[in-house]
Symmetry: C2
Subunit: 370 residues, 2 copies
């Protein structure tokens, strides 16, 4: 029997990729590269060599039920866990863990975000496979750390201890410290010191081990989910989840468990990872991604539909639905994102203001465009 399970957290609703990403259709559901697959679909595909299809669980918001069903038609309804509202990652993981324990008390689980990119999928599978082998035999909370290549200020970092010879894989170390996103100076120091990894937010553990950790470090959340344990998988599930979510603290698994627990180890990885966080990072990813490329003037086109006509334009990132046409003349270094309802034109170096633009649109026009 295969005890491997995968929990994909797909409830995010950010506006950093607005207007392509909206609260009604956030980035994990978007096919950014025009390859026919959304980030969510790419995430699931990546784990398929290791995990049987019936062992996947998607945790998402009620409002995304239909889009998940459409994008992952191979999943049964009971594999899509719906949160009534967002409560950060800890309750999300507790919920999925409860459901999986019912099915297989010996479950060995990978928990992953749904909006990351991996360049070397073969290496990724090998790392996850090693990680699952470790947690199969060790009562660890294992997290994946990425060998940093630049002093990135947009990621959290994990400091690891000296390698311990008792550990079964030379890439695994005990975790000394989790840190929040650092300032640039600190990030440079982390990079130089050589004992920091990027926190990829991918976790591997047995259901019983993370349950114990909840019991110890997040007892309130643990008890709430314990109180409805028998309702999971029954017709009472929806009502019970709604009830306890209203009482549940909003807290991340990093802050609530990983930073406190003692059995936390990290697997240093180098499979080429990125958190697709900004338009500029997307531009960079398109340059790097093996299936995509920039044009000769450094423009990144997000569709392969021959529908973007560029003149005297360079270093732009341009997203136009395949059924529309864009003609762009005389732009350098801009984001041009077009949807049925919205056109955004913004210099790349000003993209941190998009959040404010979205708020302004919301104030004047209501939620319809956001």
């Amino acid at each position: 029997m295969n005890h491997n399970f995968c929990v994909i957290m797909a409830g995010g609703a950010g506006t950093r990729f607005w207007p392509m990403s909206t609260s009604a259709y956030p980035k994990q559901f978007i096919d950014f590269f025009g390859t026919g697959k959304s980030l969510l679909q790419m995430t699931l595909d990546r784990f398929r060599p290791l995990i049987p299809i019936e062992h996947f669980f998607i945790v998402t918001s009620e409002r995304y039920y239909q889009v998940v069903k459409t994008q992952l038609p191979e999943l049964k309804d009971e594999q899509i866990l719906l949160e009534p509202f967002r409560r950060n990652t800890a309750p999300c993981i507790a919920y999925a863990n409860g459901r999986i324990r019912q099915i297989d008390p010996d479950a060995n689980i990978v928990v992953t975000p749904s909006d990351h990119l991996i360049y070397n999928e073969q290496s990724f599978v090998e790392h996850i496979s090693s990680a699952l082998a470790c947690t199969e035999n060790n009562a660890w909370l294992l997290t994946l750390g990425i060998q940093p290549t630049r002093p990135e200020t947009g990621y959290g970092y994990i400091q690891y201890d000296e390698k311990n010879s008792y550990l079964p894989d030379p890439r695994i170390s005990k975790v000394k410290l989790f840190t929040e996103k650092p300032q640039l100076e600190l990030a440079k120091h982390f990079l130089e010191s050589g004992d920091f990894l990027w926190n990829a937010g991918i976790f591997v553990w047995k259901a019983a081990v993370i349950r114990q950790a909840f019991e110890r470090y997040l007892p309130e959340i643990h008890n709430l989910f314990l109180s409805i344990e028998e309702d999971l998988g029954t017709e009472r599930e929806k009502a019970s989840i709604e009830r306890i979510y209203t009482e549940c603290t909003s807290i991340s698994i990093d802050y609530g468990v990983m930073e406190k627990a003692e059995n936390v180890n990290v697997l240093a990885s180098d499979f080429g990872w990125t958190d697709l966080g900004t338009w500029s990072s997307l531009h960079e990813q398109i340059r790097l991604h093996e299936q995509t490329k920039l044009d000769e003037e450094g423009n990144a086109l997000l569709t392969q539909a021959n529908n973007t006509f560029l003149y005297k334009s360079s270093n732009n990132i341009i997203a136009v639905p395949k059924e529309k046409v864009a003609v762009v003349e005389g732009l350098d270094g801009y984001i041009v994102a077009v949807t049925d309802e919205v056109v955004l034109i913004c210099r790349k170096e000003e993209e941190q203001n998009i959040r404010q633009f979205v708020t302004d649109v919301q104030i004047v026009k209501g939620d319809i465009f956001v």
Copy 2:
């Protein structure tokens, strides 16, 4: 009985305002100023104080029949004359003249384009009224000339003779010369000399007088329309018009008649006129138009829907349908035009290239976007 008639030529299909203006929906049908009226509707309204509604005739292409019906529901079908293809202004005027002579052999007619702007409508009505009074009693081909205010190279010019005391209105002169669009140096010379006016393309004459001119200067066209005179207003009209249009030369009334005839006079006018020819001129018109204005940074917004959000942007002209939203950051001096199918972003000083962009889109995507 009111003998005044008006022929509105509304068959143009230019792409200079693409993508707002397309061959399926050209500029005369567009509400550029968000006032609820298209240029065609504004044109008809302008003549209403002088001309009974049943004396208007719109000459347009067959493909625009439905949009004319929709925009001018007060007109009867027989007031919309459909050309099977474009043959410039002379055949268009011959066709309308034939139909109007059937109704009223003493008709006194204003012929006008449908895509011009007039600032002082009261003054305009006064000028047209004077013009009609003149042609009522004189066998003239009268054209309206606009007092030039700048050395414009985009208009044709009319040179007038010394004022002749036998003429009934001191603003009327005999025409000495029609000229094509001049180079800048020549335009400056025209402006300084003081005896040149802009050619507005608005003509006033009796049906019998222009008919005589056709007979003399464009006998082939005259004979073609003579041959089907009895078919006009009958069920044979459509077939007959189609037949003679295939044989008809494509020629302008200016070149075919006005430049050759001897009874041509010009009424010097100053009612504030512009041929809305380019996005940049539209920008300028919005600055001047009494119902519209630029924002504090010199941006012209073509809708009044509060749907354009501008940041660090100036001197742009921005057209966004009212049901959509545009967010524009960091643009100076651009055209941003959005339709359901197309987004155009182009520096104003490069707008002469739009024609080429349209051709490029047409080559790759076919006619659907053009």
